[in-house]
Amino acid sequence: MHHLLPLLPAIPLLGAALLVATGRRLPRFAAEITGFVVSGGTAALALVLLLNSSPPMVEWVGGWLPAGGESVGIVVIGDGPALGMAALVSLLTLAALAYSWRYFDEPPRGHPGAFTALMLVFQGAMCGFAIAGDLFNAFVFFELMSVVAYALTGYRIDEAKAVQGALTFGVVNSLGAYAMLMGIGLLYARTGELAMTKIGRGLDTAAGHGGPDALVLASFVLVLTGLLVKAAAVPFHFWLPDAHAVAPTPVCMLLSGVMVELGAYGVWRVYGTVFAGPGGIPAADLTRALVTLGTLTAATGAVMCWYQRHIKRLLAYSTIAHTGLFLVGLGVLTPQGDDGVALYILGHAGVKAALFACAGVLLDRYGSVDEHALHGRARELRATAVMFAVAALGLAGLPPFGTALGKAVTEEAVGGPLTVVYVAASAITAGAVLRVTGRVFLGLGPRPKDADSDLETSGSEEEPETTGPLSRIPDTMTTVPAVLLAAALAVGVAPGFGDLVARSVNEGGSGGAHAVAQWTAHGVLLGLASTALAVALAGLAVTRPDWTAAPDWARPLRRLQSGHVGDYVAWLLVGAAVLGALALPGVLGG
């Protein structure tokens, strides 16, 4: 069975190559069917492998087996978390392809397979990153998925904003990736190994009883910088709202639903296998770094989300807030925290992709994603309105959504004052989405006044992605979000699913320490509380529009999002320095 692992990235890449080679001659219909078959086949393979992932599989690609404990081969691993991420990537790609069924006005002309081919490369790269067992291949797949993501973000090259957002995305993410590569180089210098488990063992041997030194700290900071840029942790997050606001909707579904989460997954994987030993970074330092950055990320994301009027940007900031919550959950380093985050990511992918899908309907119907301009205009889209509201409740953590189960388990794991961060961040982001529902779909409250500030992106006068504005919403554009929401619900409702996820995550990560992931009265109450808070916030915002005008204390925060790529690079360096400072005490003490 483990021989099939390399097919996960290989099948989509071959499918993309086929489409690039023949796309010019194929009719559009055939190109899109090919995309479905390849992407769906990979999803089926990932699910079959996932069901057989206990005990975890290991495959040396091309038969380059280690000889006498030494190896120069490429290793891929197939444990629960890796294959779970690969399956999530594949299913979400399938959903995005279904959503974009005959969707674009076909740029570039005469090459109907181009979009599908790019989506398949994206899928293959993300699958490859998920199952990579050695750091250099993780870097290569990381770069491949980044490059495709830049291309997809700037897919509508005739739009001024799209190319601008794609360039910012490209510069910041590539710089992060090069930092990661420098870290990998330093680790190779110390241990002479590239496979993650062997680097981890090599660091422990090299350190002896001395503990970590400056080189370990430097490589930790550099590798995590790359991964945290992808995960959009504050202050590495500036590229994300720009990219998500301009990318085509099906691409946003993938970027927000799973690519950003792969950054958090990478942090978990790299810390667990490389830096967790006695020669790596002490647990207390990782907890300090991730909890601090995660809390900052959640707070920044929630505040910025609340003051957006551009609906896709609003959803992008909500993703930032949630990544902050994922990082906090991973940072406490308990088996239960890992389980909670895994469930939270599954639920969040469904809910967030459904929200972007609904925002795409608005864009294609009205040529605008501006909350103010759309006030009351979308009354006729009843099905979309219901899905938008349901997804907002899922975002708030209303039981029995998968997001609520994941949030409840994580809250239990982090405990104490950090629970407040979870409740507040999910309530504020969900409140903002509910506010949009109330205003845009129901026309509640007075129409908000436009602030006379140059600090915002409005989202009106956007080009629809379809051939002119839609007169009727295609069935695929309502079915896909409905299915995604049902899946997010199923994560929380299906009996035993939580425990299943917990078992496979713990097998991959915490070496047999089993935790249970079940509904508790405490978790349900907190979920209901954050939902109630979200509804109250949305109600206040709709009845008193002054509330959503950014107050003075939020202005500096908004000014930081300056749209200038140089500023973002400077913040990336500040972030790396902060990360180093947060992890420094363990190195000094060791």
């Binding site: 190319v163 360039l167 490209g170 510069v171 749209g563 790529v565 360096l573």
Partner: protein, 115 residues
Amino acid sequence: MHVLPYLIAAYVFLTGCYGLATSRNLIHAVGCLAVCQSSTYVLLLAVGYQNGATAPVFSDIKPGSRPVVDPVVQALTLTDIVVGATVTALLLALVLQIAKRHGTVDPDELRELRG
């Protein structure tokens, strides 16, 4: 084992970052990104270097007859160059398109996406 190549790698990386942060021209910025990447080549090759060793090509020397430098880092550097070429090409294409749509390549004038 000499510390100088490592210092040079760090210096080249930071120089590229400084250029990126202060750039007034997007083509220049993409060039600075390539400078940042060059620092990774320096680092990787420095890691595998040995005094007195030759290139790891065994067409004219017998294996084991004399020391060679680490071929793994050279393979990594080659892969890295390919990755870098792709990224640079794509980013320059985006800059070209920005120049067409915005009529400028000065990042100070590209501030539509903010807040």
